[in-house]
């Protein structure tokens, strides 16, 4: 799942097609969206450096963390940041997104600002202007890969920050322009879905080709009482979660996959989902009024049932059961009961059809067609 996502982003877009777009969405119930985002970012960066991906560079639009944070993060994860100027550009929308610091300096209130040592970044001072943001991203990308056929990826830290200042339609226009640009290979972003109305998440899902949702693992744990035992369990469960991915495939089908993840000191690891949590397959069999599956015991019992009209093959004369207990039968039963104590095992395992007649007044075979002439 996480592997398939990274592979899809790495392979990028075919000629004449829109670039694949990934939405990572999380919520307060399981707020590990940023960890998934950094995981995808790291994987994509290593693919770019190794030359395995369609894109030759990555443009990261940083809203919630500073560019130096990302540099440190990539360094910690083993990505070579010394040559970062060649393959990554970070558009700094974190330091001064609305241009306030510049205005403060201009108005003379502050004489100078301390600037962090920058490693080839540029900053955006007005994130309300979508067109400007788009051109900055494209320019940065072109600066990385040149004018030719080589493409670049775009990663947007969170879309929440843009949505605070711009309408959803301008954000979707930005995304669709990026996707349809010839030089963009793939694009992915993070969204905290509970910060917005449902429509926003629906629109972003509409614009993307892969939607990865981060959910809590045990949904049933919501109603548990909070005591000391449960607290540790809840805390342990907090760091686990479920990654639920929907891929929109080219043939129009949707592929749904699920995976479990575990976050350990802000490093995320993915494992296949344990069978207890596989709710997808369970919900498929329609609910009917009878059970369609037989257990082992039920199957054995079914095999042992004496069917009334069938040749049992054990030498006894064929008796067609007509609901009356004839004299012989009752005698047989009496003997079998008396030996029942010794042969309890055999008797108890024999299946029986117990038929209680509605009333004894009813003559047997009261319908026109007596069964006695059946010769089985």
């Amino acid at each position: 799942m996480a592997e398939s996502i990274c592979r899809a982003l790495r392979d990028g877009a075919l000629e004449g097609e829109h670039a694949p777009a990934l939405t990572i969405r999380d919520s307060l119930a399981s707020p590990f969206g940023f960890d998934v985002f950094t995981h995808v970012l790291t994987q994509l960066s290593s693919n770019i450096l190794a030359g395995k991906s369609q894109s030759g560079g990555l443009v990261l639009v940083a809203f919630t963390r500073s560019p130096s944070f990302y540099m440190r993060l990539l360094k910690m994860r083993g990505i070579d940041v010394a040559s970062s100027r060649k393959w990554i550009q970070i558009l700094d929308c974190y330091t001064d997104p609305l241009g306030w610091k510049d205005r403060l300096v201009d108005s003379g209130n502050i004489t100078s600002l301390s600037k962090e040592a920058s490693t080839g970044e540029s900053s955006c001072k007005n994130i309300k202007d979508m067109a400007k943001l788009f051109t900055s991203i494209i320019e940065l990308g072109k600066g990385l890969v040149g004018q030719g056929k080589v493409r670049f990826c775009v990663a947007i830290d969170t879309v929440d920050e843009i949505l605070r200042h711009a309408s959803i339609s301008s954000v979707s226009r930005l995304i669709s322009n990026l996707r349809s640009n010839d030089q963009v290979s793939s694009i992915f972003w993070l969204l905290h879905s509970d910060l917005h109305e449902d429509r926003v998440a629906a629109v972003l899902g509409y614009m993307s080709s892969i939607v990865a949702s981060i959910e809590r693992l045990n949904q049933s744990a919501n109603g548990q009482i909070c005591n000391s035992e449960n607290l540790s369990l809840l805390e342990r469960n907090y760091w686990n979660g479920k990654l639920h991915v929907r891929f929109k495939r080219r043939n129009g089908r949707v592929r749904v996959m699920q995976e479990e993840f575990h976050v350990e000191q802000s490093v995320i690891s993915f494992t296949t989902l344990s069978p207890g949590d596989e709710l997808i397959n369970r919900s498929l069999m329609p609910k009917v009024q009878f059970s369609l599956q037989l257990s082992e015991k039920e199957q054995n019992d079914r095999a042992k049932v004496v069917l009334p009209f069938e040749h049992q093959g054990n030498g006894k004369p064929i008796k067609i059961y007509d609901g009356r207990r004839s004299l012989e039968d009752s005698q047989d039963e009496a003997t079998s009961v008396s030996t029942g104590a010794l042969e309890t095992v055999d008797n108890s395992s024999k299946g029986e059809i117990i038929y209680l007649r509605d009333s004894d007044d009813e003559r047997p075979d009261s319908d026109e067609d007596p069964d006695d002439d059946l010769d089985i």
């Binding site: 309408s167 959803i168 339609s169 979707s172 226009r173 669709s176 349809s180 449902d198 429509r199 998440a201 629906a202 629109v203 899902g205 509409y206 614009m207 949702s213 639920h244 929907r246 929109k248 495939r249 043939n251 129009g252 089908r253 949707v254 592929r255 749904v256 997808i280 919900s283 498929l284 069999m285 329609p286 609910k287 009917v288 009024q289 009878f290």
Partner: protein
């Protein structure tokens, strides 16, 4: 014999088999309606002849699958083959590019007859417990023998692009609605388009087609003006009533508020919806699952000049690509499960996890 006819044809269906000889693109139907083809032979049959002139067809898209484009492509190609003027509006920057993806009519007649006789392995005893799907086969062969170059409805080969000479007419108009901040320009464009096909009691000179794709796409600037969009649809509907044209509008209902989406659905004369199939989820429940690319639901069929509603045998169809080229719609064949608990399909087979609407597969 009446029993050998498929049940979708009523006793007044004899009239629907009459195409106008001088205008192959039109067909007379019951109650004085004139139909134009949707471009998909199966859909024409389901709707009782095609799209009625003067009606508004709305297609509800699924955010996860592009099947509405298949419907639009066939619709537009059919119009171009019959030389019916076309107005196409889309939220992309270059709508003309879409014309390059339009399919071409199937070339060889021989393929058509053979294609219906598939399933060679079913020799010997065939247990036809789903017998209704075999009714149609008898009629196919009857239709095929009526050849001729100008058919009412062509089978379109999705792998072959439409020939250049169809696209070079004066009668194709492409509009981009991406940068429209309101709908006035589009409204005026449609109004001028309709003036070419006024409806009067005389004969029909020509019929027009309007195709509007993804009407409430979020990239468009007007997409948050819900009431403006609704009033555009309403005025489109009223303009189309008095003209000999058909408009097909597709929209993704998941991007609208439920109340807004409901209002739009009421505006439609014919309402269809397309849905994606989640991979493998429904494999246990449906036969022939591998060939399906999507599902088509018919919610409403236009009943013009009549108060008798059209009640279909089945409203859910699977969209299949025969030989990956030809669009066919088939009735869904479900595995034999207790049908009384019909709602269980609605809860277990909902395709989109984020959608709140309960989709009801009804067979």
């Amino acid at each position: 014999m009446a029993t050998s006819k498929s049940r979708t044809s009523s006793f007044s269906c004899n009239l629907t088999a009459v195409p106008l000889s001088n205008m192959p693109g039109l067909k007379y139907g019951a109650n004085g309606t004139v139909f134009i083809s949707s471009g998909i032979p199966d859909l024409d049959k389901i709707l009782g002849g095609g799209f009625a002139l003067g009606s508004l067809v709305m297609v509800m898209e699924d955010a996860e699958a592009p099947h509405h484009m298949l419907l639009l492509r066939n619709f537009m190609s059919q119009g171009l083959v019959h030389k019916q003027p076309l107005l196409y509006a889309s939220p992309s920057k270059d709508p003309k590019g879409f014309l390059g993806t339009l399919p071409s009519p199937r070339s060889c007649k021989v393929d058509k007859d053979k294609s219906r006789d598939d399933d060679p392995e079913q020799e010997g005893l065939r247990i036809a417990w789903q017998y209704k799907k075999y009714f149609g086969e008898h009629q196919q062969t009857v239709d095929n023998t009526r050849g001729g170059k100008h058919e009412y409805c062509n089978d379109f080969d999705l792998r072959k692009p439409l020939e250049r000479h169809f696209l070079s007419g004066q009668h194709i108009d492409c509009v981009s609605i991406l940068h429209n901040s309101d709908l006035v320009a589009l409204h005026d464009r449609c109004a001028t388009f309709f003036t070419q096909f006024p409806r009067n009691d005389g004969s029909i000179a020509s019929a027009g087609r309007i195709a509007i794709q993804s009407f409430c796409a979020p990239q468009c600037e007007y997409s948050n003006l819900e009431w403006d969009m609704l009033s555009f649809i309403r005025s489109l509907r009223s303009m189309i009533r008095s003209s000999n044209a058909v408009a097909v509008v597709t929209f993704p209902p998941s991007l609208l508020l439920p109340s807004v989406s409901k209002r739009w659905q009421h505006m439609a004369d014919t309402l269809l919806s397309v849905r994606a199939i989640p991979d493998k989820e429904l494999a246990n429940l449906l036969t022939g699952y591998q060939d399906m690319v999507g599902l088509l639901n018919v919610h409403k069929v236009a009943c013009v000049n009549t108060q008798v509603p059209v009640i279909l045998d089945a409203t859910t169809f699977s969209i299949k690509l025969q030989k990956r080229r030809f669009l066919v719609l088939e009735c869904l064949n479900q595995a034999p499960i207790d049908g009384a608990s019909g709602n269980s399909y609605g809860t277990s087979a909902s395709c989109s996890s984020s959608s709140k609407t309960r989709t009801h597969l009804d067979f």
